[in-house]
């Protein structure tokens, strides 16, 4: 290109400009993504922190018009829901995870794995309606049990897959060594493999807990909400996300303030659990 030296130079300048421009734009994209997070935290703290006091945690809601009151019912409700969902869901999920890890490429394992991944994508509202049609209709009432089942249905596929992955990270030699010592299959798994994968599985459970603790939609027609303190399995219960939802779409300023405060607490709880998941002693067999 002896005749095109000038144009080559020009083309090159254009390319440099495009390079700069596009790389800058990726930085702008990163900025645009992070800004909502900062704004959300800013508004949560500025609008919610003022309404936080001891009463908020230890008192029940008061009727509209009265000021004060708290969300004790919602705290107790959310904790009960999450606890029962864990009790119901984690054993099944860990069992299914073991099955997948040991079954590996068996046809049934492939099907189960695929179903687990697909179930992770079921809209939570659909799960709520399913549990309504199943449990609530059968019991004839909204209940803590129904809400816990709905959350457990969400939790099971998540924890199944993380359990499988964590078990797979345990070196084969450990399993083979145990078997060579005469351990039976179940002893190998329960006595050797699960303890070795314990912290990884715990991390997975905590991540799932953080997610279901913030769920509203599956509880709308199952746990339903309750202005009073309740922890019996066959009674409807309040939950923090449900209460935030109801308060946020209400017309009352005081409820809005409480919704912000409750959101701040909910976020704090979710983040604490997420951070706990991060700092659980890492599985020694886990890669970097």
């Amino acid at each position: 290109m002896s005749d095109g030296a000038g144009s080559v130079e020009r083309v090159h300048r254009t390319r440099r400009v495009v390079n700069r421009l596009m790389l800058t734009l990726t930085g702008v994209a990163a900025f645009v993504v992070v800004v909502p997070l900062l704004l959300i935290f800013y508004h949560l703290v500025s609008a919610g922190a003022g309404a936080l006091n001891l009463d908020f945690f230890i008192r029940l809601p008061v009727p509209v018009g009265d000021t004060g009151g708290g969300m004790l019912n919602a705290f107790v409700g959310t904790l009960s829901l999450v606890a029962y969902a864990t009790l119901l869901g984690v054993p099944i999920a860990v069992g299914a995870g073991i099955f997948l890890a040991e079954g590996r490429r068996a046809p049934l394992a492939t099907v189960v794995r695929f179903v687990a991944d697909v179930m992770n994508g079921i809209p939570s509202i659909v799960i709520g309606i399913f549990v309504w049609a199943w449990v609530v209709v059968a019991m004839g009432r909204f209940s803590l049990l129904a809400g816990s089942i709905a959350l457990a249905v969400m939790l099971i596929p998540m924890v199944t897959r993380t359990t499988e992955e964590m078990i797979r990270l345990v070196p084969r030699e450990l399993r083979e060594g145990a078997r060579a010592l005469g351990f039976t299959r179940w002893r190998t798994t329960l006595g050797i493999i699960l303890p070795a994968a314990r912290s990884g599985i715990l991390t997975g459970v905590l991540v799932a807990l953080a997610r279901i603790a913030g769920e509203t939609a599956p509880l709308l027609f199952t746990a339903f909400g309750n202005p009073f303190l309740e922890w019996r399995l066959n009674e409807p219960v309040a939950s923090l996300p449900l209460l935030i939802y109801q308060y946020a779409i209400s017309p009352y300023d005081d409820w809005h303030r409480q919704a912000w405060a409750a959101s701040l607490v909910l976020i704090g709880f979710v983040l604490m659990v997420s951070l706990a998941a991060r700092f659980v002693i890492r599985n020694p067999y886990r890669g970097s």
Binding site: M1, V8, R15, R16
Partner: protein, 293 residues
């Protein structure tokens, strides 16, 4: 073998003395200090002056002074981790991809500083073709692989010119006859040796002045290796070639000049036949006779 070689190494290696031996090949390999006496019309393609390089806290190159002459094949040899690849990858600043690196001293490409602050690495790399240890064709057609460089650098106008350039490059890489009927097929369908020659053709398509080869045949079978070596022999009429190799016989077969690196230092450089028949340095001798490395 290893144990034998360790003894002379430890006793004779003297890092206190600058490990750069006097040049062995006359004027064209004079040290930088006296480097003015360049033969007319034959400037150095690459010239390192006390060039050092660090990955984080690890010093990979220490005080390298080396000149690489135009239109010759220069082989860089030495055991793994000796810095020969680092040196090669400094010439086109491929090490920029790695965070936390730094350098000292001068590295000149055709007289211009490679690490000059205002150096445009894109223009620099266009003058420097590179062939990697593992063939790395793009997952595109054979044609598109060779056309990538000319396209991205806007070297040609129109399909006809591009086709001509692709054909010329493939012919130069001695691959044209094997692929001319399937230019639109995926490059990943070629054999390992063909893929590597495709990568050479791809590098040649941007008309570089100098061709860097980082162990280009280490993953190939003997026949494919032979083809690459023949190709190097043919290409050296038009290009300055720097080749990093583990294979001593290969260095002896293809190169005009050989530089021996050890522990980040340039131990000895000279005409290949001299290095291999009459090395001045004990480490060099130990290495080329296979007593270590």
């Amino acid at each position: 073998m290893m144990e034998e070689s360790l003894l002379p190494m430890e006793t004779k290696w003297n890092p206190g003395v600058p490990g750069i031996p006097a040049p062995t090949v006359g004027a064209s390999h004079a040290l930088p200090e006296g480097g003015k006496q360049v033969a007319a019309g034959a400037p150095f393609a690459v010239e390192a002056r006390s060039f050092s390089f660090w990955y984080g806290a690890n010093q990979a190159l220490a005080d390298i002074s080396l000149t690489i002459t135009t239109r010759q094949v220069t082989a860089l040899i030495g055991p793994s981790g000796c810095g020969k690849s680092t040196f090669l990858r400094s010439i086109n600043r491929m090490n920029d991809l790695i965070p936390n690196t730094r350098h000292e001293g001068e590295l000149l490409l055709e007289g211009g500083s490679v690490y000059r602050p205002d150096q445009d690495v894109v223009l620099l790399r266009r003058r420097v073709g590179m062939v990697f240890q593992k063939s790395n064709p793009f997952p595109k057609s054979i044609f598109e692989n060779v056309a990538y460089g000319p396209r991205v650098n806007r070297l040609v106008q129109g399909r006809r010119q591009l086709e001509g350039l692709v054909e010329r490059s493939l012919r130069q890489a001695a691959l044209w006859d094997e692929v001319k009927d399937r230019l639109e097929k995926s490059a990943l369908g070629l054999s390992g040796g063909q893929q590597q020659r495709l990568c050479i053709a791809r590098a040649l398509a941007v008309s570089p002045h100098i061709l860097l080869m980082d162990e280009p045949a280490s993953a190939l079978d003997p026949i494919a290796t032979q083809k690459i070596e023949e190709l190097i022999y043919e290409l050296k009429d038009q290009y300055t070639i720097v080749i990093v190799t583990h294979n001593m016989q290969q260095a002896a077969r293809v190169s005009d000049v050989t530089a021996f690196f050890y522990l980040g230092k340039l131990v000895e450089v000279g005409r290949t036949e001299e290095i291999f028949t009459n090395p001045k340095n004990d480490q060099t001798e130990a290495y080329i006779t296979g007593r270590f490395g």
